[in-house]
Structure formats: C-alpha cells, structure tokens
Symmetry: C2
Subunit: 217 residues, 2 copies
Amino acid sequence: MSALDGLEVRRTTTAQQLADGLSERIMAGAFGPGDRLRESAIAAELGVARNTIREAVRILELTGLVRYEVNRGAVVIAPTPEKIEALYTARERLETAAVIRAPRPEQLEAITRAFDEIAEAAAEGDTGRIVDRDLAFHQAIVALLDSTRLDEFFTAMTKELRFYLTVLSKSETPEEVVAQHRVILDAIRLGDHDRAVAEIRAHIDVSVEQLKQLLRR
Amino acid sequence: MSALDGLEVRRTTTAQQLADGLSERIMAGAFGPGDRLRESAIAAELGVARNTIREAVRILELTGLVRYEVNRGAVVIAPTPEKIEALYTARERLETAAVIRAPRPEQLEAITRAFDEIAEAAAEGDTGRIVDRDLAFHQAIVALLDSTRLDEFFTAMTKELRFYLTVLSKSETPEEVVAQHRVILDAIRLGDHDRAVAEIRAHIDVSVEQLKQLLRR
DNA sequence: ATGAGGAAAACTGTAGTACAGTTCAACTGT
DNA sequence: ACAGTTGAACTGTACTACAGTTTTCCTCAT
C-alpha cells in the first residue's frame, strides 16, 4: 500500500469526458431518439470549443448511440422495428451459441450471481436497476463464449439496448422478469443445452414483441 | 432502368473520403503497425486542415485500424499474439455457430461461389486476391447466422484480419489454402455439422499458429 | 563509447474565428 | 390549403494560436 495509492492524474481528454457525459445524458433520455445534437448549442452551454464537441460526438459514434448524417450532423439513433429485430437477432445468435458450451465453475457462479442481483433489484422495484442487471445477466451468458472481442461487441450492443429500454417505458412486472431469467438459469445449471437455447429464444421473442408493441405508438 | 441511373451527387464529406483513403493506405502497408499518424504532416501533404484530418482519423477508429492514445494521437494497431488470438477466437465462435445451422439454398450457393473464387485466385497465384476471397468465403459462412449486425461485426474484424495478412507476408502455398477451404465446404454441403465445426477449428488453429510464427521475428 | 540529464523541436489537444453551402422553418402571395 | 421564396440556423471545413506532452538531440560526466 503506497502513500500515493489512488492518486491519479487526469489521463483523459476533454473530448473523451464530453463523450462519456453525453452518452450518459442520452441514455437517461435527455435527448429523444432522432434528435439532433447541435454542436454550437452544446459547445456554448458547456463552455468548450465546437471542434471539441465534434470530436466528442465522433467518439460517441463508436458506441453506436448516434450516427452522422451529412449536413445534419449527429443524430440520436431512433428505434425502428427492423433495427430492434436486427439487434435481438444478434443477441439470440450469441447467447444461444454461448449456452451450448460447458460453463466453467466461475462462469456459472457469475451467471448465478447476476441472476441473484436481478431478483434483488426486482424486490426493490427499481426499474432502472432491473434493466442494468438484466443486461449484466446476459453479458455473463455471452461471457461463456470466452471471447473478449465478442464480449466487447455485446457491450456495445448493450448500450443501444439499455437506451431502448430506458426511452421506451417498461411493460413487464419485475416478477415476470425474474421468472423468465430463472428458467434460463436453471436450464444452464442443469446442463440442459437444448432447453437453455429454447428458453433464451422465448425470452428474446417476448422482448422483441413487447418493444415493437411499445414502438407502434 | 431509369434514365437517371448511376447519377449521384457527392453525398459524402471530405473527412469520410480521407478516412477511406487512409484506410486503404494503411491496409496496403503504407504505415507499419505501431506507426503514428501525424496530423500536421498528413494535413499539409493532402492540403486539408488539421481538424479535418483529425475527424477522418476518428472515423478510421470506427473500423478498428487505429486507436487513439492520449497525447500521442492515432496509432496504427500493432499485432500482438494476444490480439491475434482474441481476433481468431471471435471468428471461431461465430463461424462454428454459423455452420451448425441448416443453410438455405442461396446461402449454400454463395459459399460455393466464394470457394470457386478462392480456387480461381489461387490458380492465378495472386496472393492479394487470395486473401480477399479467403475472407469473403468466411464472410459467407458467417452470413449463415442471418444477422446483419453480426455480419457488420465480422466485416469490421475482416479489416483487421486483412491488415495482418497483408503486413505479415504469407507463408502458405495457394494449394494449401484451397485444400483447407475445400474440406470446410464439403462438410457444409454434406450437412455434416460436426465435421464442419472441426474443420473450421483446424483451419483457424493453423492460421493462428502461422501468424504467431511470423510475428515472432 | 556510454548513459544520464536537460534543452529544444515536434506534436497533440483545445480554443476561437470565419465562411461557403445546406437544411429547415417561417412568410408570402395565390 | 399550398407552392415558392427568403432568411435564420447549422454543418463542414479552413486557419491561427498556444499550453502542455512527447520525442529527439545534444552535452557532459563517467
């Protein structure tokens, strides 16, 4: 334990900090889907130069939360049925590929722990936290693939997912969420790959349908 | 066939064009792995402003060919054994997940065609083209997953892969490449999933080993 | 020669100004 | 109600400037 422990210099750029901050705001719903991020306004409000904002937004683009349109600048991604479908299809492929692998003990433990945290958040009824833990549970499943690249890819998708789930209000009861995840967990623990795959498919189908439903208004 | 077919206005920005151009140069080996992209030099040489280059490089970052380091700017990614391993592991997971699905006729045809093109390029002995078609073959396999998001993800990885394969010179004969892909194709056509998985694993193991070997110098 | 130290040069990160070309919204006359 | 016009608001890009970091290069003691 050094006397300098915890001391750390700024090791990050303004643009990076702005990107992080904006990312947070967007996910919190400060900008609605389809909204444009106006550079001068943001720059003026935060007291930074416009090119710095521009760079921050380019960094944001990495996470997939905004995309650039020529002469219109950065636009917050807007969910469409096709996009949601594409996102969930990718999830389905990854997660089903993951659960047919034999989990190592610590992986199994991580998934179990993730489930417990969902249950805990559900008991408290904190919807925001339920979403977070829900995503963490699925992240733990993808981790079964033992591929850092795929983990990263899933993390990126997670940002979009959380965004959708946050912007569109939720329509499931916490109990339903817990129940759905419990059957997945059970199947994994039992080593019943076929059932795990089936449960994941069912879970994802339900989610897609709910999201589409919410979107239709 | 409209009379206006093919007509298209510029619909792209300078930064985007620069990003494309730089990407090409990097993959062609104009910049070695680990090299820094010096903004002022590039800006001066191409007659554009430095902030435009900066933006172009941020776009480049999207494809994973460069990454930013604080106060050092953009650096061309350098292959390390760990990175190569991570890349190929992700490939392996995707491709094996793909071949256990039953291919639709047009997907099978696409893969077959991709193989034929490998054979064709091999006959000509054009190593650059062999690499391209090799990657296209694997892209066709990943397409079996029917997920545009995963296709895109694989495409991004492909850029890195091609880069490695281009920078590091090749050490396989064209015949070996063709033979390796033929067994994969055969297994897929026969619907023998287990063998297809095994062949893909073998193929990827060989590639990783060769790359690491080349890297050790 | 060689390695340590330190000064200078080269660059990045950021700010700020400017302006042409585009998009968008409000206004106008029909 | 509506097509057309106009002007304001913005984006894309260029240029200049400068503080803070790296990198390079030179010097000096060993």
